[in-house]
């Protein structure tokens, strides 16, 4: 077999352009898969490892205030393994030299060895016992402001301002995902977690000997819901806010939702890309092998068995598989590493366990081998099935017939183009299908960007019209609003009342904020899918469309609403309608109705402000001094952090996919025309001999390509539209829903990439036409 192996390498070298192009198609599909799978795996592994190493608890409870003795009663609940209590206080934070108010929470460190939520120290040290002013800050905040231990913060807890000296930077599993009150995306500049010794915190928060947060681990096989019920029963007299499992822990919940989102992207993109690449690989390899028909017959004539011949050509394909898969894995790992680091910027993981599972590598190779192997075997067995004598005869002229689409005015070259396409409809359809699929996946990449832009447009330009959202520590009388209106730059203020609530419809429950809004509000609009305003009903509530879907409730039906604060009232409320929101899920009712539901007077927990942008710095300076203000989120900043965090992840993912899709598109188009040239070089050379110019001959070959591409592009746009729709309807999470929006520019770009790929391929193949060996092709039979 040695001579055959030499032949193999020479043959590969002879078609190196195609080998590279096919490898790229394969690499594009594999890279998408490896990138997505490794990123998702790595993030999940890291999360699991962190939860284990830093002891993330399984049950969480917030309450107003309970004496330390209550902890023992909770610990005695059947199924509860261990309990830890602590004090957590909301705080206003001022950082010297930073204009905007920073909101945050101050967490009391356990006395002695902590049980749960152990700290990972990034820099500095822990506060020493008895040092009341020493504190740690969350690493996201430190990184965003480029701070190192040794600076101090002015922290206002319970209206009392104090200086804290930062001695270290830390992170813990409970704050992997950090959200400031009133924000929809993490903003590390304006949100900070502070840890300090328990005693001074309890002192300033009037909590000495008491706690307001409790965490527990559960014994194996304990049902979380049972434990939650028992714990809620104990804590209710102490202002319990309802306990919950990990599912409802904010950081965990957002992380899960983001992982869900990533899982969808990481499943769908690779499945689509890999199927497209496998399909193309199969077709392209099959056609490449078909051009080897005479060689196959010759080898058979020498006495090689069909199996030996098939094995020989499988080795040929194996080289492509190895190159393509290796390139794909390397490229996917490189992009996966980059993507994972991007996620780490948002998820405050202290480290990332980046790795690629063997399974991913196995699947990569298996898919490649299956796609290329069947393509090869099919073509080789077909060729080997012919008797060797057939190859000794002059090639039979292919059977052609007149086409329906031709007219008598057509030139013969045009006739050739049309008849050639029609004569082998399957081949033509496969070519069209290949180019169409690569057009489609290009749309899929671009669609993501359009969707994110629309999401931002709808939410932050049409629905949220306030410049700054102010959140109070607790309900305040709306008289406080008047003081807001008198602040510098504030032109208009609108109160809002937000309360944690549990919504129940039949067996389904969901916990989120119920927001009381002004009926004629101007700064926060509730919109339907057409971005038209939905009026707040005098009675009843409006739900985010996704919440209604999750609960399975329709407008007109009654929903059980259980308030988790204040009156803790439980009531049946009619669902008056749904509002379209792409980010987060909420429920809305009129603020006056919510005040009555809460059995409280005219009060608010926050306000939307319209602000004169020139006076924002002065406004911030004043807001920092108002003790009741827990946080203030600027819309412009929300927009910015959205693009910097969530959007950056998704768009980077989409960008990588667009690049891979372009690679696939170029590979497919080049191969289509290149193989076409091999199949028809004899015919084209004959025409050259008859006196056709290079241009006239190129017209026949490239004209066919152009017709195929022109048919393929619209089809690809259509398929891309369908795939994007499928992805949008599948990619629905509580965190955000991807709107189905594709801009004309995305279609145009996809078509343009394919068109440019065609022109480049045409140029490269055109050069080959110029070098057709006229004498040689006339001698050869095929």
């Amino acid at each position: 077999m040695r001579a055959l192996d030499i032949k193999l390498f020479r043959d590969l070298w002879a078609v190196r352009g195609q080998v590279i192009a096919i490898s790229f198609v394969l690499a594009g599909g594999i890279a998408t898969y490896v990138m997505a799978a490794s990123t998702l795996d790595s993030l999940r592994r890291t999360q699991a490892r962190l939860y284990r190493e830093f002891r993330f608890p399984e049950l969480f409870a917030g309450l107003k205030r309970a004496p330390e003795s209550v902890a023992a009663r909770v610990a005695a609940v059947p199924g509860v393994a261990a309990v830890e209590t602590r004090v957590v206080a909301p705080a206003n934070i001022e950082l010297a030299g930073y204009e905007q108010p920073v909101s945050g929470q101050v967490v009391g460190l356990p006395r002695g060895q902590g049980r749960f939520n152990l700290l990972h120290l990034h820099a500095g040290r822990l506060p020493e016992a008895g040092r009341d002013r020493e504190a740690l800050v969350s690493d996201g905040f430190a990184k965003a402001h480029k701070l190192h231990p040794g600076f101090s913060l002015q922290v206002t807890i319970n209206g009392r301002k104090q200086r804290l000296d930062v001695v270290g930077v830390a992170s813990t599993p409970e704050f992997i995902y950090q959200l400031a009150p009133g924000s929809i995306v993490p903003d590390f500049k304006t949100y900070c977690v502070v840890w300090m010794n328990a005693a001074p915190l309890e002192g300033s928060f009037n909590m000495t000997g008491a706690f307001n947060q409790l965490a527990a681990t559960l014994e194996r096989d304990t049902r979380v819901d049972d434990a939650v019920m028992a714990v809620d029963h104990i804590l209710r007299p102490y202002g319990g806010l309802g306990s919950h499992g990990r599912k409802d822990q904010i950081s965990h919940r957002y992380l899960s939702e983001e992982f869900k989102q990533l899982t969808i992207m990481a499943t769908m993109f690779p499945v689509i890309f890999l199927s497209v690449a496998a399909f193309l690989l199969n077709v392209v390899v099959g056609r490449l092998m078909a051009t080897q028909r005479s060689q196959i017959a010759t080898l058979k004539a020498f006495g090689y068995s069909t199996a030996a011949v098939a094995w020989h050509f499988l080795k040929f394909t194996a080289v492509i598989v190895v190159i393509g898969t290796a390139l794909g894995i390397a490229g996917g790992a490189w992009m996966g590493g980059g993507l994972s680091r991007l996620y780490m910027d948002v998820y405050r993981f202290p480290y990332l366990d980046y790795s690629i599972r063997e399974g991913v590598l196995l699947v990569s190779f298996a898919v490649s081998i299956a796609a290329a192997g069947t393509g090869t075997l099919f073509a080789v067995l077909k060729a080997a099935g012919e008797s060797p004598a057939v190859a000794m005869q002059p090639a039979n002229p292919g059977r052609y017939r007149r086409s329906l689409f031709e007219s008598k005015w057509m030139s013969q070259p045009t006739r050739m183009i049309i008849r050639n396409i029609e004569r082998r409809p399957v081949k033509s359809l496969l070519s069209i299908g290949g180019v169409a699929m690569s057009t489609a996946i290009l749309i899929l990449g671009g669609f993501w960007g359009d969707a994110v832009d629309y999401m931002v447009f709808a939410q932050l330009r049409r629905a949220q019209l306030d410049d700054i959202t102010v959140t109070f520590f607790g309900p305040v009388s709306t008289r406080a609003l008047h003081s807001l209106t008198s602040l510098p730059g504030v032109t208009y203020a609108e109160p809002t009342r937000s309360v944690a609530a549990r919504f129940r419809f039949e067996q389904k429950t969901y916990r989120t904020a119920l927001q009381g809004m002004e009926p004629e509000g101007r700064l926060r609009l509730l919109l339907n899918t057409k971005l038209e305003r939905v009026e707040l009903p005098a009675d009843g509530i409006l739900l985010t469309d996704h919440l209604a879907t999750m609960l399975g409730v329709r407008p007109g039906q009654m929903l059980t609403v259980e308030l988790l604060e204040g009156s803790r009232a439980v009531r049946e409320v009619v669902v008056a309608g749904v509002v379209s929101e792409y980010i987060g899920v909420s429920a809305y009712m009129r603020r006056d109705a919510l005040n009555r539901f809460l059995r409280e007077g005219d009060s608010a927990t926050g306000a939307f402000l319209a602000v004169d942008s020139k006076l924002v710095p002065e406004l911030y300076a004043r807001l920092k001094k108002i003790p009741a203000v827990a946080g203030s989120a600027a819309r412009a900043q929300a927009l910015q952090s959205f693009y910097e965090t969530l959007a950056a992840q998704m768009l980077t993912f989409a960008l990588f996919n667009t690049l891979l899709a372009s690679t696939i598109a170029i590979g497919v188009v080049y191969n289509t025309v290149r193989i076409s040239l091999s199949e028809r070089s004899r015919e084209l050379a004959s025409l050259r001999v008859l006196g056709y110019t290079r241009g006239e001959v190129a017209y026949i070959l490239l004209g066919e390509l152009t017709v195929l591409v022109f048919l393929a592009i619209p089809l690809g746009l259509l398929v891309g539209h369908g795939l994007a729709y499928f992805m949008a309807t599948t990619a629905q999470t509580e965190l955000f829903r991807v709107p189905f929006v594709i801009e004309p520019s995305t279609y145009a770009l996809a078509a343009l990439v394919v068109a440019v790929a065609t022109v480049i391929s045409a140029f490269m193949v055109g050069r080959k036409i110029n070098h057709l060996d006229l004498v040689e092709v006339l001698k050869a039979r095929e």
Binding site: N396, R399, Q412, M416, E683, L687, L690, G691, T693
Partner: protein
């Protein structure tokens, strides 16, 4: 027969460098082809006859020497000029016909007449080779001999000055081959194109005005037939 030389080749050399070995295909050939004559180039495989024909037809370039076609030195021609030369003046017929499978007989001829300056009608060319009743057949619907006659019709439809045939009967049985040779003979007589037929079959030499024997890259000798025989009278 006039003695105007259509081609005049002088000291034509052709070698191929195959790695370290230089293979000489032609070693200084001098030859003329006269207007209207029927020349048969006879010689064994590797004698250089195909190489010579390819050079005359503008498909290949001589390594040295000159080939003058009616005062035009094709050895110095640029690729574009060679294309124009083939397009306007040369008709080719090949052993394996080289028809375009996607075009009917008539359209195959039209493919050439469409780009020629003063062509005959495609149907006329097919009539000339006796295929007037097969004009709308595709190559796959024609026998080998019929395909070769279409190729001849295609070659002569542009009214070329020279008709170059490389083993036109090489892939055919003798009976069919004779029909093809008759067609070549007929177009040579009726159109007056200077015709060169390559063959290694000595029996075909009888139909020529002149027989040029080649061996080893050289013209070994030239003989002139007193009478051209009708291809129908040939046997092999």
């Amino acid at each position: 027969m006039s003695l105007e030389a259509v081609f005049s080749a002088r000291a034509v050399t052709k070698f191929y460098d195959m790695g370290e070995v230089r293979v000489h295909a032609l070693r200084g050939v001098d030859i003329e082809l006269y207007a209207g004559e029927m020349m048969v180039l006879l010689g064994p495989s590797g004698s250089g006859k195909s190489t010579l024909l390819n050079i005359l037809g503008g498909l290949d370039r001589a390594s040295d020497g000159t080939v003058i076609y009616r005062g035009f030195d094709i050895t110095q021609a640029k690729d574009k000029e060679l294309t124009q030369y083939r397009r306007s003046h040369v008709g080719f017929v090949f052993q394996f016909y080289n028809l375009i499978p996607s075009l009917t007989a008539l359209e195959n001829v039209a493919a050439v007449t469409e780009i020629a300056a003063n062509p005959m009608k495609p149907a006329e060319a097919l009539d000339l080779v006796g295929l007037g009743d097969r004009m709308h057949h595709f190559p796959s619907q024609l026998s080998g001999g019929q395909q070769q006659r279409v190729a001849i019709a295609r070659a002569i439809a542009k009214r070329p000055s020279v008709l170059l045939c490389d083993e036109p009967t090489g892939a055919l049985d003798s009976e069919t081959g004779i029909v093809v040779l008759e067609a070549i003979d007929k177009v040579n007589r009726e159109l007056g194109a200077a015709t060169a037929v390559i063959t290694h079959n000595a029996d075909i030499a009888g139909m020529a005005d002149r027989v040029v024997h080649m061996s080893n890259g050289n013209v070994s000798h030239v003989e002139r037939n007193e009478h051209r025989r009708n291809p129908r009278d040939l046997h092999w």
